[in-house]
């Protein structure tokens, strides 16, 4: 990955800018919109590029370092590009008991990536996630905004096919 930080050519889109401005007014202090601002950028672009950090800081009137501190703290803010689809595999002890490691193993084998990695064709990123609250249907995972339960290693191929 290109390690040179290029921030000078970055500009927030009008959509992003107005969505962030709108969020600011839900809070007493604009800083509170920082997480939502990062999510707005991520929704548009799939991840949060370097240049978005000072740009968000400027709108909210807070230092870029504070925005970066927040961006790197929260696990669902992506500071590197991710695949077209993000698979979040619940790794709670309930899913462990329900066969999580077999399901995770099937995904790893099928996609040839480990948690934290993206397939070379840019289709999937694989991540662990805290308990998805689907414990009566363990093991569970999310693909993008869709939650699935009662998974088996054998069912993984078919499940992933629905996400081209």
């Amino acid at each position: 990955m290109n390690s040179i930080i290029q921030t000078d050519r970055f500009a927030l889109s009008e959509t992003e800018r107005s969505a962030i401005e709108h969020e600011k007014h839900h809070y007493e202090d604009p800083r509170a919109a920082s997480i939502e601002a990062l999510k707005i950028v991520q929704k548009e672009r799939g991840w949060v590029p370097d240049g978005a950090i000072p740009a968000i800081g400027e709108i909210l009137g807070i230092p870029a370092s504070d925005v970066e501190g927040v961006a790197t703290f929260y696990s669902q803010i992506f500071r590197v590009p991710v695949g077209r689809h993000v698979i979040r595999v619940c790794d709670s002890m309930t899913c462990y008991i329900g066969g999580h490691e077999g399901v995770l193993g099937a995904i790893r084998q099928k996609l040839a990536i480990a948690p934290g990695q993206t397939t070379s064709d840019g289709r999937f990123t694989l991540l662990p996630v805290c308990c998805l609250g689907n414990c009566d249907k363990a093991p569970a995972l999310m693909i993008d905004d869709d939650t699935f339960g009662n998974l088996t290693p054998e069912g993984i191929d078919q499940l992933l096919e629905a996400y081209p």
């Binding site: 999510k39 790794d91 462990y96 008991i97 996630v129 414990c135 009566d136």
Partner: protein
């Protein structure tokens, strides 16, 4: 989200008198929107509170009802409300709903938010007026996309009907409610970390005192209550304290009903609204149907990852804080987990401590450094490569990370299941020390990927 038992106990239909939290649920599991909610007596408690009760009356009612926080800690809601400053000149106050449900094995708030969003909104409306809060936030975990959609639609319905916004029900009281969605991290469920996160900061817990009631969001008095806690408020106001206190079984010191569950390899994993004080055995056998064929109950956890393991003989304990306290751990969220005899405790604890180590915010040294150390030791034991002394080190970590050593309850919660597993299943850990006889080793984690 099963709501029917496969045993005989739950043949009685859910009614407003016996199942205040869940009687309005639809059989098709679709959300109950405003019209239907009002047809089912919804917002009647808010109307009653606004017309007949002063804010102080509502605080007194909730205090007298014995309602306790349903997020896991079980602190008296009335006492928490009573900590809000009496000084009327402090006119900016906040009510936060902790909807950051991420405790492993917990899916009760999701049910309440997805299917009964107006019950939560009504609870927040009554509570906000009692606490003189002009604004509320529902701090919702980002992964609960259906809950976010349903809550936002319900808020729009309530605004259009004059149940949120300015001059609610003609009372002169104003209350604005927002859904704030998070961006991951288990620690956001800790109430002071949640406040930091809402303010747009890293979710590190704050030192207490001052408590949020004095210095909360943006320095203002703030009350943080769990979804299920707030969802109890309408029924308490509507039906009264005497009724509420009649719900729990004899012997229970906790009042009302609780969403309880059982998961793991049981026949009927699910979630049920049950009176405090039922025995864990009733929950396990009658509601969850006992273990699936071919599995035996090895141990169980009463309410989330941060509670200790108990043995099958402890199933006669009553499900309330003191009842589970008597057998050595906490009730937590009340959603229990069955561990079956195919599960090795070293592997299970390795999975759990990996989670706790990853989710430590890194603020306090014992938690930041101690939890990864426990993972390292557990991984070695799982591979059969533990060193002599590793069990003693794990035991020391259980003490060093215990209550009172850190800012928040993350580390104590992380070591509670470890301490209990070492106590009840020590031989499984000993078998992981290098040189232990092979036959004592529990099929050493062939599943590890």
């Amino acid at each position: 989200m099963t709501l029917t038992s496969i045993g005989p106990a739950n043949r009685t239909p859910r009614t407003a008198e016996t199942h205040p939290l869940t009687w309005r649920l639809r059989d098709d599991a679709e959300p109950v929107w405003l019209d239907e909610y009002q047809q089912k007596n919804g917002y009647a408690a808010a109307r009653k509170a606004f017309a007949e009760l002063s804010p102080a009356d509502v605080v007194a009612l909730v205090k007298d009802s014995g309602l306790k926080g349903r997020g896991g800690a079980g602190f008296s809601t009335g006492v928490k409300w009573g900590l809000m400053p009496a000084d009327e000149s402090i006119d900016i106050r906040y009510l936060l709903c902790n909807a950051d449900e991420m405790e492993p094995n917990t899916w009760k708030d999701r049910l309440l938010m997805e299917q009964l969003p107006h019950q939560l909104i009504e609870g927040m409306l009554i509570s906000a007026r009692a606490l003189k809060a002009y604004r509320g936030y529902i701090f919702l975990r980002g992964e609960y996309v259906d809950a976010a959609r349903n809550l936002n639609r319900a808020i729009e319905e309530a605004k259009a009907a004059g149940l949120l916004g300015k001059n609610i029900l003609g009372s002169g009281f104003d209350f604005e409610l927002f859904v704030h969605t998070g961006a991951g991290r288990y620690i956001c469920g800790e109430e002071t970390a949640l406040i930091n996160s809402l303010e747009g900061r890293r979710a590190n817990p704050r030192s207490k005192p001052p408590f949020p009631a004095a210095v909360g969001v943006w320095g203002k008095p703030t009350c943080v209550n769990n979804v299920e806690t707030l969802s109890n408020v309408p029924a308490i106001v509507g039906n009264g304290v005497d009724w509420y206190k009649s719900l729990a079984r004899p012997g229970s010191e906790d009042m009302g009903t609780k969403l309880m569950g059982f998961s793991g390899k049981v026949k009927n994993p699910g979630l049920w609204e049950l009176p405090f004080g039922i025995t864990a055995r009733e929950l396990f056998e009658d509601y969850a149907g006992g273990m699936r064929d071919g599995y035996r109950l090895k141990c169980w956890q009463p309410g989330g990852a941060g509670t200790g393991f108990l043995l099958p003989e402890h199933l006669d304990a009553q499900m309330y804080a003191g009842g589970i306290g008597k057998v050595g751990t906490r009730m937590g969220t009340g959603l229990a987990l069955a561990v079956d005899d195919s599960i090795n405790m070293v592997s299970l604890l390795r999975n759990m401590e990996e989670f706790f180590a990853r989710e430590s915010c890194g603020w306090c040294t014992p938690c930041r450094d101690g939890l990864p150390w426990s993972v390292k030791l557990l991984r070695a034991l799982e591979r059969g490569e533990g060193q002599p002394g590793d069990l003693e080190t794990l035991g020391q970590l259980v003490n060093f990370l215990g209550p009172g050593k850190t800012f928040c309850a993350h580390a104590p919660g992380a070591v509670e299941p470890l301490g209990s597993a070492l106590k009840y299943f020590r031989q499984e850990f000993e078998a992981g020390v290098r040189g232990a006889p092979d036959e004592t080793r529990p099929g050493v984690a062939a599943s590890q990927v």
